[in-house]
Assembly symmetry: D2
Homo-oligomer: 286 residues x 4
Amino acid sequence: MHRERFYTLAASCPDQVGIIARITGFFAEHRGWILESSFHSDGEAGRYFMRIEVRADSLPFGIDVLRQKFAPVAESLAMHWKLTDSTQKKRVVVLVSKQEHCLYDLLARWQSRELDIEIPCVISNHETFRGFVEWHGIPFHHVPVTPDNKVAAYRTVTELFDAAHADTMVLARYMQILPPELCAAYPGQILNIHHSFLPSFVGAKPYHQAYQRGVKLIGATCHYVTADLDQGPIIEQDVIRIDHSDSVDDMVRYGKDIEKAVLARGLRYHLEDRVLTHGNKTVVFR
Amino acid sequence: MHRERFYTLAASCPDQVGIIARITGFFAEHRGWILESSFHSDGEAGRYFMRIEVRADSLPFGIDVLRQKFAPVAESLAMHWKLTDSTQKKRVVVLVSKQEHCLYDLLARWQSRELDIEIPCVISNHETFRGFVEWHGIPFHHVPVTPDNKVAAYRTVTELFDAAHADTMVLARYMQILPPELCAAYPGQILNIHHSFLPSFVGAKPYHQAYQRGVKLIGATCHYVTADLDQGPIIEQDVIRIDHSDSVDDMVRYGKDIEKAVLARGLRYHLEDRVLTHGNKTVVFR
Amino acid sequence: MHRERFYTLAASCPDQVGIIARITGFFAEHRGWILESSFHSDGEAGRYFMRIEVRADSLPFGIDVLRQKFAPVAESLAMHWKLTDSTQKKRVVVLVSKQEHCLYDLLARWQSRELDIEIPCVISNHETFRGFVEWHGIPFHHVPVTPDNKVAAYRTVTELFDAAHADTMVLARYMQILPPELCAAYPGQILNIHHSFLPSFVGAKPYHQAYQRGVKLIGATCHYVTADLDQGPIIEQDVIRIDHSDSVDDMVRYGKDIEKAVLARGLRYHLEDRVLTHGNKTVVFR
Amino acid sequence: MHRERFYTLAASCPDQVGIIARITGFFAEHRGWILESSFHSDGEAGRYFMRIEVRADSLPFGIDVLRQKFAPVAESLAMHWKLTDSTQKKRVVVLVSKQEHCLYDLLARWQSRELDIEIPCVISNHETFRGFVEWHGIPFHHVPVTPDNKVAAYRTVTELFDAAHADTMVLARYMQILPPELCAAYPGQILNIHHSFLPSFVGAKPYHQAYQRGVKLIGATCHYVTADLDQGPIIEQDVIRIDHSDSVDDMVRYGKDIEKAVLARGLRYHLEDRVLTHGNKTVVFR
């Protein structure tokens, strides 16, 4: 990410001749200085994807006027588009359970402003991390989840998320399955870290499954949450080598390092508007 | 591998106190110089695995006498064991189809004696590589496989393998499914390279499956062939990063590099008696 | 790489507002269909880099007319540029010594047309691979190099390269140091694979140096050859894990796998005009 | 690491026939159950290295008697040896400066008992992390270091380390060079994480050096501190891929992830007595 203020256009549209020329011609006309630009043509789907960063101070107007002026161009290309301001911090609600590694990792990045976001609150089904979170000056909400109170619990989670005016929900090893309606209500806004290299070892206890199968690498997957468990669009994955001497406990320990790294990378791509979804797949302009 | 002649003991037995002391005491008694030794206790299975290299010239007798003298020790520990001589080259029959990458890679390693083996013959269901193989001075057998001649074809393959007094059969992207009886007849002797990170994408066209799922890494798996397709004990795996811009053709191309590397490593472990199987899993003493 | 015929523009110019718009506007004006496009702004150097693939059949003229029409645009931007035709095969002369791995690997890729190039000849200071190369139908030239005949030997190499109308010279573990004048005569055209993760272990016997230092990873580097030994612009690098049990011989063996993979990737980037140099650094549009 | 209490023998001695038999024979005689054992013969140095874990409750005596009984065996082999008890927590003093990533990472592992250690105190030349450290219940000492007070400052650091009865000092991106006398006083007890893949980019600002050289991977190195800056025995290393679009700031950010992972792995190997030094190299029994 750049130090200067910039606007990011993330967009897709049906493929045709001249798209880049139209878009970059528009910016050039207003003397917009392009810092970074990425383009991808999906031949199979006939769809074009792009991401462009323009220096804010190179344009003679602000983001609202930019949006107005760009709208007709976008419309003429039948474009899905989003235009964001790098000084407008994203608001990320973090959900955790009892495992510490992703939470510590995210708060370390937030504390050092490596992740330049607001965390309006952390929500957990356990009290474990109240003190740690509150010490950072971040509100902590304990929302217990039991087989009996699921509807009410997730209504509370939704209310907290909405009240926080949040953009993104991160399941940082939350260990609970969100109800389908909640998943459907925030498409492309909820990120999960799954502790396997999907599509291997869907569902519960993936390290046990990996141990039983005798694989030589284990992994983690950051994906958008959809109503289908562990089936959402994959944003980022990685693996680590194990061998016969590693127990399930060892795998859990190694896995933590991969999980937090993959979640941090996937979240960063998402927050910088580098991820465009397309059916059940993603374009990630790293 | 060492330059000096050495004998390799690869063995497993029920776990109990004093196994290493018994085995290494036996060698010490005969002034055997241990070059390399590896041990693994599988607590869940209650089984002990080991691999020991002893310098041949440190012992006052040859491998036959060694086997005789060691037999009672092994018997007293209810051991499964194998004792091999590093100067006795393994005999490896290679099966290929029309893809070149694993074949070129194996012959390069054989030509430079990095793989210090005999290749008594190459068998293929196509004529494609006859010239290349024969130029290396290795006999080439064309055994076409059609839906109608499968029984006869694999009878021929089996006869060629047996007539070659071979130890190991390598399916170097052979692209045909061996009949269950053949798999069962040579347990732990047939190695396959599968072009996915198993257990993901079993069966046909794994790169197409990977493309559809939108994974961010693709892989390859070297495993022993059993009657269950792509379900045998895994010896070695690896992955390579891809992204949204990679087509299925790109994946196929990247995949070749992983396939040949994983096959070469898995085959080496196998040939150096570093792989001990145990149910559907392997212990690999790298 | 795409199946359709396409033209590739690889270029750089001083940075300013509107470059992409100018370039893509030019192609849009002629109904040119952009298959792939990459842009990079080097803020420190104030220089802009780009690579664009345009479908040949989308343009109403051939590459010669395209060059004529594009020249004024390029001139107005003070651009260094190159425009190539995907059906015009690059001509690559390979230099080898006595090690087989890179040679086998390159010829396997050439044989399967994964590398869609011409290899007008292989040059070696040893006879070792004459038969192997000639079996592939490729001319082989033995040019011995001794302390006394260096000037004459490299005059011969230069003559063979020029007579072959070659674009690129690949030192596939050639193990000889080219004279500075030869390096200077073909800037950005000679690729070497060095068997260390540069800048560590410059010069002779890098695996011995790595062994002495006790590093935990070893690597390889593909770079353009310049008059300064092992100091040219780096195109691609990779590493592999080793441990205390690995001897120098083991490192040499592992290293071969990294060397051939890194050379193959670096060469592919080069051949597809994905590498733009800039001082002693490269932009690689993978 | 195992759940059961165990004793760990880490040792080295001149190589000769029968070492393993002597050592394991000793344990077998006392019915000691070996959980894990690793051996390495360094042929060049003529030295033998080993690490053995024995279940505490399998022996008929405690660690003090074990030490007494083992001493004559060790002496007869001219062995350097150490025998530790898994229930005796190591005491680790952490030194930090103003960067958060390694500190957060270590405290997360400590908090979850993944690292089952005592942290008697954290020492820093800045006040930055006082609140964070103290919230965890760990004493925090601010020891400013200026060009004028170095002698006094490091006398204080030494006193704090000794007063804490600490085993290990970790420089978790401490950013100060320890005086040679301090390094010499605690050989094999002080671990540093250097933010480059040593031996490349010794000294200050390695990411700037890496940027200037145009490398395609950056790395980190965990090593024992000696009086020679960045020259001590290497315990663990790793790398991450970068490309031309990454600025020095991007490298710093990616580097943090590698630094904390490499430090955590290196520290774990050290704490589990898996690292034996040997001249300027290490044997690491992972």
